[in-house]
């Protein structure tokens, strides 16, 4: 039996029969912690980097919020050092740079890499029963390609004129012509190059994930026995592979326009800031099409993995199978497929052919359908379960309920006529923070708490986790829910000072409340960091399977050694057999656990 069930007591001395891995082979500090090719180390590197970047992006956001609550006032603490030349206040120029870099950092250095880079890397080999990724060196490079990007984004602030200031969407001509804005000088070129590095990093990851998932599954791990996390990572990788080249090409086209004088995006006869008229024959709308052709699928790249991980965690914390496993897979595939034909919903009023707007509207509204199906299935998963109200579960509940709000607000915007009014207002800002922060990031917080024991062999603190949850949840909703109201009141996004418009004057107190909530939420993140780093060294040690979960990763030691498994796992079940009648007196049935036929029949008859 020991070879069939490596999870329990035999696993630790599983070096019989020639299975023993060479645990002892020594690695230098550099190759173990820095230029590591071990997917677990790379995953952790991604995780810690993205958590730190989250604090940077959060700091930028708080500066934006400061301006909206106390426009033109001297900023506390950092004002005099950072904005000394402007008397410590945020100049309108600096304001545009702040929100541009906030979004850039959060999207390209936090959300995308934390999902695919950190959890994708850590979980894929462990959950499919492989000893590492298909291409370990490529994997290492995918992490190290983040650093040039971080460096380029950071360096862009020190260019003459300051950081990039054309928004994360970088619409030309504002982003393209040097004269258009101080930030559109060299800073914008660095931004574009940074973006390319992020892209290359994602692409290396995506190729690796696809290959690994297709080729390296353990015996018995059929496609429909894969955890939904793996499905989501697989679908995300495919999305990346098809969408990213378009953005990369667009980025190079813009760099060429800026440096080589090509005119992909530059029409002729434009006079910016009294510069000589442009020559050209390009189309600015082309950029928007290319950009959103990537960036709409990218919003699902920023969501699907979290959906997968939350499904895993929900089943485990409700001690019952995921409801509708296959519909879950199909709806993720549908989201990915439809995701390629809805990009135009960001361009309803951009001046593209209005007839196109109609088709994009129908496809966009229909993409809400698979999202709805998934939501119903999550509720079905919780229904009738034995809910463990721990930190992980709390985050999963937040994920589902915040996703409901974010998905529903999408319907207003998908309705073209309504979007005429709410496009480029705070309603949009509310929407995407509900889906990206409310759903994805809460899912990630849950996932950190859930897989931390596997990463470091220790548990994170529950009490601190719950306090972090409560503060973040309250802070989040008090910051972002009112943004719907601001949007309906007609407050445009990206305004350094909305209050000098009489019809927006009365929104100042509401904005001040939101800023206060945002600061509360920002401070709460130190609890997460503290909990994370403290538990890494001082958390209570845990065994292989602290949650009583089914996945293959829980059969490996915590933390798994080089090569992950001491015994090659063999898979007999799907990943969600919680509370199964054949599992005996446990309420879970690990994927590696073989149940003899007689026992299965007996359980069947018993029912």
């Amino acid at each position: 039996m020991s070879t069939l069930n490596p999870t329990i007591d035999h696993a630790d001395h599983a070096d019989h029969g020639g299975h023993g891995h060479d645990h002892a082979h020594k690695q230098s500090f550099i190759s173990q912690y820095v230029f590591s090719t071990d997917h677990k180390m790379i995953g952790k590197q991604f995780l810690i980097t993205t958590l730190l970047m989250m604090m940077v992006g959060g700091g930028l956001a708080l500066a934006v919020r400061w301006q909206l609550a106390r426009p033109w006032e001297r900023m506390p603490i950092f004002g005099d050092t950072v904005f000394g030349a402007d008397g410590g206040q945020i100049s309108p120029d600096a304001y545009t740079m702040l929100f541009t870099m906030h979004a850039t950092v959060m999207i390209f250095l936090v959300i995308i890499p934390v999902l695919a880079g950190a959890f994708g890397n850590f979980l894929i080999p462990l959950q499919i029963g492989a000893d590492d990724m298909a291409f370990p060196t490529l994997n290492m490079l995918s992490y190290w390609f983040m650093w040039p990007a971080i460096f380029l984004f950071g360096a862009s602030f020190f260019m003459y004129g300051g950081g990039p200031a054309a928004g994360w969407t970088s619409y030309p001509l504002l982003s393209l012509l040097r004269e258009a804005a101080p930030g559109s000088g060299d800073a914008q070129t660095l931004w574009l190059l940074g973006l390319t590095f992020v892209g290359v990093s994602s692409m290396m990851g995506s190729v690796n994930y696809m290959t690994t998932i297709i080729n390296m599954r353990a015996p018995g791990m059929t496609l429909f026995r894969m955890p939904l996390t793996i499905w989501s990572m697989f679908i995300t990788a495919i999305l990346q592979a098809f969408a990213l080249p378009v953005l990369t090409a667009a980025g190079f086209m813009m760099v060429a326009d800026r440096l080589l004088g090509t005119c992909f995006f530059v029409p002729s006869g434009i006079v910016v800031n009294n510069a000589p008229p442009t020559v050209g024959g390009g189309q600015t709308l082309l950029w928007q099409h290319l950009f959103w052709f990537y960036s709409h699928p990218a919003v699902y790249i920023m969501l699907l993995p979290a959906m997968g991980m939350v499904s895993d965690m929900l089943a485990c914390m409700c001690r019952k199978p995921v409801f509708g496993y296959k519909p879950m897979v199909y709806s993720m595939a549908a989201i990915a497929g439809l995701g390629f034909i809805v990009w135009g919903h960001h361009m309803f009023i951009s001046g593209m052919n209005p007839a196109l707007g109609m088709t994009f509207m129908v496809s966009t509204i229909m993409i809400a359908l698979p999202s709805a199906i998934k939501t119903f299935n999550w509720i079905g998963t919780i229904w009738g379960g034995r809910v463990q109200f721990n930190t992980v579960m709390l985050y999963c509940i937040a994920f589902v309920s915040m996703f409901i709000i974010g998905g529903l607000s999408g319907i207003f915007m998908a309705a073209v006529p309504v979007d005429i009014y709410i496009h480029d207002t705070y309603f949009i800002v509310a929407h995407f923070h509900y889906v990206i922060f409310g759903a994805t990031l809460f899912g990630v917080f849950g996932a950190i708490q859930f897989w931390f024991p596997k990463m470091y062999g220790r548990m994170m603190n529950e009490t601190v986790g719950k306090i972090h949850f409560v503060l973040t949840f309250i802070g989040f909703n008090c910051t972002f829910y009112p943004m719907h109201m601001l949007g309906i009141a007609g407050m445009p996004r990206r305004y350094a000072d909305p209050y000098h418009f009489p019809y927006l004057e009365h929104l100042l107190p509401l904005n001040q409340f939101m800023t206060a909530s945002a600061f509360l939420m920002g401070m709460a993140q130190f609890l997460l960091l503290g909990n994370f780093f403290y538990s890494m060294y001082f958390g209570p040690k845990c065994g292989r399977n602290p949650w009583g979960a089914n996945g293959l990763e829980w059969t490996a030691p915590s933390p798994p050694g080089h090569g992950n498994f001491d015994v090659l796992p063999i898979v007999y079940h799907g990943p969600y057999e919680y509370g199964s009648p054949v599992s005996g007196d446990k309420d879970f049935l690990m994927q590696t656990e073989y149940v003899p036929l007689a026992q299965r029949v007996a359980a069947e008859e018993h029912h």
Binding site: P92, Y95, T96, G167, Y171, P172, L173, L174, I270, V271, V272, N273, K320, P321, F323, Y325, P327, I349, G351, A355, G357, M358, M361, V362, M366, A368, L369, A372, I373, N377, I382, W383, G384, G385, V387, I397, V400, S401, I404, I411, F412, V416, P417, V418, I420, Y421, D424, M485, L486, G490, P492, R494, Y495, A496, P498, H500, P502, L504, L510, S580
Partner: protein
């Protein structure tokens, strides 16, 4: 506190009224969905917390009929939302190009050319009784950050930009349209009541994006003509007055 649509909450254009109706319709559908799903979620959690130690969980991998129901019902609702509003969009952005019912081409007066630039709005009107020409004419009338339009019936403006992208936004009328470099975009709307409506830029255009503050002045057709005469007289006034006899 007043955290709803700007002003008294009403839209001052026909299209705006329709947009608001759609908004409220979606709001109702969405609220019902939100309350329904949240109640289900809350109930499931409450039961999950109360489950007894000896009670078994509901060991179920899903239900085919439930999946069918919750695929068909939302898709019907979503399709309804999608198709129901196509017409409003067609009205707003497409029928202006089309013909009247009797086959004659539809005529909407173009009142002005609105040119956005960093960071102001420049507006050019044809002289009274003349149509707007694509190129400036000697007797054109100009104004900055103040767009005058007649009430009663659709009017059209030609939207352009001199430099980067901007967007023409009049919240009280629920009108918005990007101004795209190299393009002249017709925007048509009506103002149902005379009045002053705030007008601003809705597409990031640089550091001064937030300060493209302007006013749309809707006047009765007569007042509009009178204003144009007055503006024209002021503009072409060279200060020469006949000496007193």
């Amino acid at each position: 506190m007043h955290w709803w649509f700007p002003g008294d909450g009403n839209a001052y254009s026909t299209l705006g009224g329709k947009i608001d109706d759609l908004f409220y319709l979606i709001l109702v559908i969405v609220s019902v969905t939100f309350v329904g799903t949240s109640a289900a979620l809350g109930y499931a959690l409450w039961r999950g917390a109360a489950i007894k130690a000896d009670e078994k969980v509901w060991f179920s991998h899903g239900s085919h009929s439930l999946e069918v129901i919750w695929t068909i019902v939302p898709s019907a609702v979503l399709l309804f939302i999608a198709l129901y509003q196509l017409d409003v969009w067609a009205e707003y952005r497409m029928k202006g190009f089309a013909k009247e019912k009797d086959g004659s081409p539809k005529i909407i007066t173009v009142v002005a050319e609105v040119t956005a630039r960093q960071f102001e709005w420049r507006i050019r009107y044809p002289a009274n009784g003349k149509p707007l020409k694509p190129t400036p004419q000697p007797d054109d009338i100009y104004s900055v950050n103040e767009l005058h339009v007649p009430t009663g019936g659709l009017v059209s403006i030609t939207l352009r930009t001199d430099d980067v992208q901007h967007a023409f936004f009049v919240p009280m009328l629920r009108v918005k349209q990007d101004a795209v470099p190299g393009k002249m975009i017709p925007v048509w709307f009506d103002a149902t009541m005379p009045g002053n409506y705030e007008m601003l830029c809705a597409e990031l255009c640089g550091w001064g994006h937030y300060k493209m503050k302007a006013m749309l002045v809707a006047q009765s057709a007569d007042d509009f003509e009178a204003w144009k005469d007055k503006a024209s007289a002021e503009q072409f006034d060279d200060g020469y007055r006949k000496p007193a006899e």
